[in-house]
Amino acid sequence: MWETISQALAATMTVMNLVALSAGGIMGIIVGIIPGIGPMVGMVIILPFTYSLPPNLALSVLLGIFCGGYFGGGIPAILLRTPGVPSSMITSLDGYPLTQQGEAQLALSAAIVGSFSGGIISVILLMLMAPALSKVATSFSSPEYCMIAVFGLVVVLVMNRKQIARGALLTALGLWFSTVGIDSGTLVPRFDFGSVEMQNGLNVAPMCLGFFGIGQSLLLLERKVLQTESLALTRRALDFSKIFAVLKYRMTLLKSGVIGTMIGLIPGTGSITASFFSYYEARRSSKNPELFGQGTPEGCLASEAGNNAVPAGAMIPLLTLGIPGDPIAALLLGIFTVNGIFPGPLLLVKEPVLIYTIYFSLILINIVAFVTLALFLRPFATIIRLPSAIIAISVMVISLLGIYAMNLNIFEMGVAIAMGIVGYIFLRLEWPIVPWVLGFVLGPIIEQRLRESLSISRGDPMIFATRPISLSLVIACILIVIIPMVIDWKKNKVAKG
């Protein structure tokens, strides 16, 4: 155990790893600050470059962008009421009023301290929960894995229940995209439409890069996201006296970090939900709930602690079950599999040094992001002034060339452009796109486990109802569909009557 920890510490503290996580963290802050870009786009841009790196370095870069993005996202939310990442919308509820009152430094201190604390609390919870969940998962077989993946998709659909038909349609579309290419079980080509290139299947990198990188850039060109010439910041660095002022909300920090982690580990829920629940719990338990929405640092702190706890929370199902809970975790899964590492219950036994390196890197990323923003707040905040068109065009060029660099394949650039068009349409219509991504990523897992399960039972689907854990998951799937429907029905009845 101690030997593993010392080896992991040594791997974490290598110059290359420190450079990787610092570069990732700084890039994350930059993409988080730019409204309309965010950590997902930042990660897909960098993804092709990370395929040639050792897994610990690749994960340090990507996790750096993931966490750094949430650190950065709060800045435009507080200064301009324009969230850099969607979850920072909740931060703007109190952050922007504080800026208007001349307390931008207090709001930013609360947000940055919140992000830092949420990140650290969630890593500690990840270290405690992952081994326990792994032990439970060792008793899992194909039916359980199949049902966990299905459960993830059902949760995502329920989260988008206002557009449930569209969500189901996009989930199935993502699942269908995952079937394109040669079927690994029977070696039969499927849906290749006569193209040899299509027989290789559709890789996650060009699909996600097109969908988010190009699709989001096209939307950015169209929407001309708010640009500003003025910034309500007079100091270059964060005012450290304000940091001490917000530390009195210790319980809010702790609760928000725990809420964010728990929400992060539920597939498909995402950082907006984490911010939302953390904020409302902070308001519910606050001594001054009437100040929420008027400008209280406690609101900024709760929201940011909640959303920055999500990355480590999302790592729990990924590391222990091999099932990504959100699109960003899906990209991380790609890094593992490219390096011949298959996340699951045995990962903690087979690759303990890598796992502990990830834990320590996550802690360091949070420290790097905190220190960077605390010392260079204003230089980073001025990024908001960059014109969106310049950002969008630059993102498109580097995205497409990054895709080419992965396999030296121009066809995959074409796939990325085609997915960019599809992504633009769905983003423009504001359809729920998370189900599409999760469908595409979970498709191969569900298909393989479904066929294995049916092979065990010789074609009898009742296998899912005869094993206790898979039956529990079937019941859980049914309940999470029915309970919100009943709640909505009751609400409608009360509203009408």
């Binding site: 038909a165 349609l169 039969v188 060109l221």
Partner: protein, 173 residues
Amino acid sequence: MGNNEKRAPQGPNPDSHIHDLLSTVLGVFAATLLVTLKLHIDEPAADYPFYKGPKIFPILVLAVMVISSLPSLYRLIRTFGSGRWWLDGYGWPNKPAVVTLMLVLFFLFGITWIGVEASVLAFMSLSFLVLGYRRVGVNLLYPLLYTIIIVVLFKYALEIWFPEPLMFGLFGV
């Protein structure tokens, strides 16, 4: 209502027929694939039972697509003449997005024909021109600097091979 107010950004109209039309198109696409499945998935060489075969999963997901699109198809047929086609306040189709998309396609072919350096430079300069920029700094200097960074990063730092431009062959270079 003034012209500026009309152009003010407004979110998508959830009741627009555009949503139902897209759902229906996707549903019809899935139904077509289901009907013509034999053309898209060959029979495996070995005699697999259906539950182990390559068709079971695609049939399931395509069926879900068809079923999910049925409410939209119903709404589209029932209210087709009501004229609810307005989507949002950003125009349809939007010029910057469409023109940039066309330029991206030229960029893709440009890599093969004129090389990555000329392609990146031309794509960025033309895109900024189309997007309304008329400054040397943005239209020329920034694309030039970005191209240099791209070439140094991809060609020299990462040692990525790019195809020889076909134009060179045409002119015997």
